[in-house]
Amino acid sequence: MTTREVLYGVIVVLLAALVASSSLAAYYYAQYNQESNVAARDLATARNLMSRYGGAMTSNLLIDFGNGTRHWYNGTRVEPGWNLYTETLAATDGNVNATCCAYGSHFVTGIGGVQGTPEGTKSWSVWTFNRTSSWQEANVGVDEIGVSNNSVYAWTFCAYDPVSYAPLCSP
């Protein structure tokens, strides 16, 4: 190759490097801006809740251990942005066993020393409550259940249907 051919080649390679690095930088900048906007929106929501409740929301949580022991954690202090997993950790002083996070949420295997096992016949289930439909089994993971002021939730430990995996008890 002549010097002129190499020179043109080097110019093209440098131009390509400039294009590639600029594209990558622009992509990073766009992603950063997008995430910043989402974070700012979530922060505004959290501040709005803080101002409404003065940072002192309370929630009610029932834990039914399936052996006759039922604990109501009424008036558990929760903060904006918390979910049911966070509230359960706070209510039980962290006495929760869980695996993380196969489907985008924690999978709780044990609470207060009562442990379910993969080969066992009993497991922990989450329940939501409202005045109209009373207790309903939650159909999303605990991390996706947001707690709010005066919300009511329950955990039960009992056997489940081996086909549908529906718990054979209710709170």
Partner: protein
């Protein structure tokens, strides 16, 4: 190049380009068409490369499994001509093809990367033009360019690698075939 030979080259490589597009359908923005257009212009001249660009891109715009491209087709064809121009320019600039696996491969890969960037920039701008006309603003164009960035990055990297790998092989193979035919 004689007319009949040129028609045969355009027909053969256009068929190869569209066929490879179908084969690579699951890999969005990874296409051999760009490399083929570049190489045809590099080895057979601009007119043959432009012919492959127009025929293959027009055909792909109509028969693509993602659906017909519609009004943006002329912009896609125009963008593909960038590769033909670059291939022709490269053939005039880098005449020493004795060692195509060395620096020439890198130069061709880099040229393909720049072409891919220009293709994406032009077609994204055209998308904005068609989507927002007559109220098109600079912000609309920049936003559309932004949405296309992840695809553009894949396109640029794919064209760089395919240009580096396929170009030397094609230069060696086709040069030998032409020598045998003489």
């Amino acid at each position: 190049m004689r007319g009949a030979s040129e028609v045969a080259v355009v027909a053969t490589f256009s068929a190869l380009a569209v066929g490879s597009d179908f084969a690579l359908t699951p890999y969005v923005n990874v296409k051999l068409m760009d490399t083929i257009v570049f190489l045809v212009a590099f080895l057979f001249g601009f007119r043959a490369g432009a012919g492959v660009a127009v025929v293959s891109e027009t055909a792909w715009s109509i028969v693509s499994p993602w659906g017909a491209a519609g009004a943006i087709t002329p912009f896609l064809v125009g963008g593909e001509l960038i590769f033909a121009i670059a291939g022709w320019w490269a053939s005039k600039t880098w005449r020493d093809r004795s060692k195509p696996w060395g620096t020439l491969a890198v130069f061709i890969g880099a040229s393909m990367l720049v072409c891919a960037f220009l293709w994406d920039f032009e077609t994204n701008a055209a998308t904005a033009l068609l989507a927002y006309w007559p109220t098109l603003t600079l912000k609309d164009i920049l936003a559309t360019e932004g949405y296309g960035l992840p695809f553009a990055l894949v396109h640029e990297v794919a064209d760089f690698l395919l240009g580096m790998a396929a170009a030397p092989a094609a230069i060696l193979t086709i040069s030998r075939a032409r020598y045998v035919n003489k």
